[in-house]
């Protein structure tokens, strides 16, 4: 079918020496970023966007670079889960359950290798899923009118808190703050200045890349300072790898199951990678014979890792086809697409087919690179992990600010970055999630545009927003996404906490 031939064309793009080089660089950087405690994937990609931007890389190269960083960060996250018992980000939490006990038993190298293989399987299967599902969804999304898009954006915000979200009103508040920041500047369709206070620098609005780096990276620095976490943590020593093919075969079924479950969780709005790895782990525990789950069962490492990576690739499906990201990191990837002047959504597959398929092909290659890098080079990554944050965080902060400065050569952007950092610190203190803020800034202009189009077409009739069956369906899911977590959330969270304490009790 044409998907196949498009994919082949994609491989032609992805196999040029230049693309392979960017995939390798991205994979290495991503693994490092993921491995460093406190620097999650969203942070890492955010810091690298302005760099890719100011280097003047072509859209394809920068996308390849940053998607491999994304994939690499998912790989790297498991290193600190296994060796330090500290998840790099939330989805990596489930890997701690069996990974750390394995490391304590002196099987750290095996745990790392198994998780690398499981990660590879997870991403690989999910990328195949992406190849099959994305064009179908894109074709379907072509039916969307402005009213449906408005409903879809509302759905994205409503489900962003996820099924485990604690306080839905805080998610909404964060979304409102982000959307409000997006309205600053000259209104595109009427030319009216909004909230600019006649300041020339605000006419173009607030750059979301500055906001991302400030909110994520700079506020993280403040938290490190506050917690006196400068010295880093003690890690388990790593042993020599003894892995037989039999051990690998033993974890294969777990990895496959985890990958599929993770992919589904990644595609669905509001589920995300955390739920992906959680479901994979619990299902694996139920399906498998009585293993030693929680005490260092290799399958307990493989299943959540495959689920986590599967969900990460699955989350790219709604991001690429609808322009609606489901997680923090995909939101950051969306930021990059918008700043490269590529509007994601169904038209992406028609207008920028070579770019999309090039990136998808690059994901296959990036994964292979990651697997090949990770098994022999794990020692190097582990060494880098032991650099204490007191040296690393200041340097990361410096690189982040240089990236911001290099885009515009304006010190004002740096002031804004610090301002967003302080705001991010306060938001995190009062538990306001940061991702909806970013997403609001990203989707604000589009959301307002679709509202306008709908109302202009209907001559000011607000019921036009709910006129088609499709938009009613989307609104229903949005409302469910908002209400369900209030009912189901406490149950799921209690279960997650229970499986965590059960392990600690042993």
């Amino acid at each position: 079918m044409d998907t196949m031939s498009l994919l082949m064309q994609g491989f032609a793009v992805a196999l040029t020496p230049e693309s392979i080089m960017f995939a390798v660089i991205g994979a290495i950087l991503g693994t490092l970023i993921g491995a460093l405690p406190g620097l999650g994937p969203a942070n890492g990609v955010a810091i690298l966007i302005p760099l890719a931007f100011s280097l003047g890389l072509s859209p394809t190269s920068s996308l390849i670079l940053l998607t491999s960083v994304y994939a690499g960060a998912m790989y790297g996250g498991r290193i600190s889960s296994i060796l330090l018992n500290i998840p790099g980000d939330e989805p990596a939490m489930m890997t701690c359950l069996d990974g750390y006990p394995m490391a304590l038993k002196g099987k750290a190298a095996e745990a790392l290798a198994i998780s690398a293989i499981a990660s590879f399987i997870g991403s690989f299967i999910a990328t195949i899923g992406l190849v099959i599902l994305a064009p179908i969804l894109a074709k379907f999304a072509l039916k969307f009118g402005p009213a449906e898009y408005f409903a879809l954006f509302a759905l994205a915000f409503a489900t962003l808190g996820g099924i485990t979200g604690k306080n839905q009103f805080k998610t909404l508040m964060a979304a409102a703050i982000g959307l409000m920041i997006a309205t600053v500047g000259i209104d595109i369709s009427t030319g009216v200045q909004r909230f600019t206070f006649n300041t020339l620098e605000l006419f173009e609005g607030v750059d979301f890349i500055i906001a991302i780096v400030g909110l994520f990276a700079i506020s993280e620095l403040f938290f490190f300072l506050e917690r006196h976490a400068g010295d880093g943590l003690k890690q388990v020593a790593i042993n020599k790898l003894k892995l037989s093919p039999k051990d690998i075969i033993k974890v294969l079924p777990a990895s496959f199951r985890g990958a599929v479950l993770g992919f589904v969780a990644g595609v669905l709005p509001g589920a995300g990678a955390s739920l992906g790895s959680f479901i994979s782990y619990t299902v694996e525990k139920r399906v498998s014979d009585k293993g030693e789950f929680g005490k260092g069962d290799p399958r307990g490492v493989a299943a959540p890792e495959a689920g986590n990576n599967g969900a990460a690739s699955g989350a790219l499906v709604p991001m690429l086809t609808l322009g609606v990201p489901g997680s923090g990191t995909t939101a950051v990837l969306l930021a990059m697409l918008i700043s490269l002047n590529i509007s994601p959504g169904p038209m992406l597959f028609q207008q920028n087919a070579d770019l999309v398929w090039g990136v998808i092909a690059a994901m296959f290659i990036g994964n292979l690179v990651l697997l090949l890098l990770n098994i022999p080079m794990i020692g190097i990554f582990v060494k880098l992990l032991s650099i204490p944050p007191k040296y690393l965080m200041p340097i990361v902060t410096l690189i982040a600010s240089v990236g911001i400065y290099a885009v515009s050569h304006s010190a004002l952007d740096l002031y804004f970055m610090v301002g967003f950092g302080v705001a991010g610190y306060i938001f995190r203190k009062v538990d306001i999630p940061l991702v909806p803020i970013i997403l609001g800034m990203l989707l604000g202009p589009e959301m307002e545009k679709s509202l306008r189009h709908t109302l202009v077409l209907s001559d000011g009739d607000w019921t036009a927003l709910f006129n088609s069956g499709l938009s009613i369906g989307l609104w229903t899911v949005a409302i469910l996404g908002l209400v369900l977590p209030i009912i189901v959330g406490p149950i799921v969270r209690a279960k997650m906490a229970k499986s965590k304490t059960a392990t600690k009790g042993d």
């Binding site: 508040m173 620095l221 506050e226 509202l451």
Partner: protein, 146 residues
């Protein structure tokens, strides 16, 4: 204590009202009033923020602990040092400004003075040459320019 959420909710409520009021004051765009003006979407947002901040004031979550005031002052100084770096990058130059701010940060995070100076100076020099010569993004030399 549940004071954080109440104070923050109050603050956001003020912002919501001010933002919504400002939106009603927009000049009528050229070409006359349409069914959706530049103020429609902002007014919806101010309602959304208003409702969620009222909820936050009425049903606050338990507080997360704030750092002791000594730490807050220290964080304030760190913010000032970052702002000073932003100010100094052009007149003083990238290398001296970056060396100072990185040394200061890593000293505050608990490194010894010598080690933090080494980190600061070496990282700023390496990054400067990496950007200027390898990546060809000019960073300001500042005082070192002659």
């Amino acid at each position: 204590m549940r004071i954080n959420d109440r104070v923050f909710g109050m603050l956001m409520l003020i912002i919501a009202v001010a933002y919504g009021y400002e939106a009603t004051q927009f000049p009528i765009p050229f070409g006359g009033q349409e069914s959706v003006g530049p103020e429609t979407f902002p007014i919806m947002l101010s309602l959304l923020l208003g409702v969620s901040s009222i909820y936050m004031i009425l049903r606050p979550d338990p507080d997360e602990k704030w750092a002791p005031s000594a730490m807050l002052i220290e964080l304030g100084i760190v913010v000032l040092s970052l702002l000073a770096f932003a100010w100094a990058i052009e007149p003083v130059g990238f290398m001296p400004a970056a060396a100072l701010v990185v040394s200061f940060l890593s000293w505050r995070m608990g490194a010894s003075i010598t080690k933090s100076l080494i980190t600061g100076v070496s990282s700023s020099v390496v990054i400067f040459f990496l950007f200027n010569n390898v990546l060809e993004l000019a960073l300001p030399l500042g005082l070192l320019e002659f």
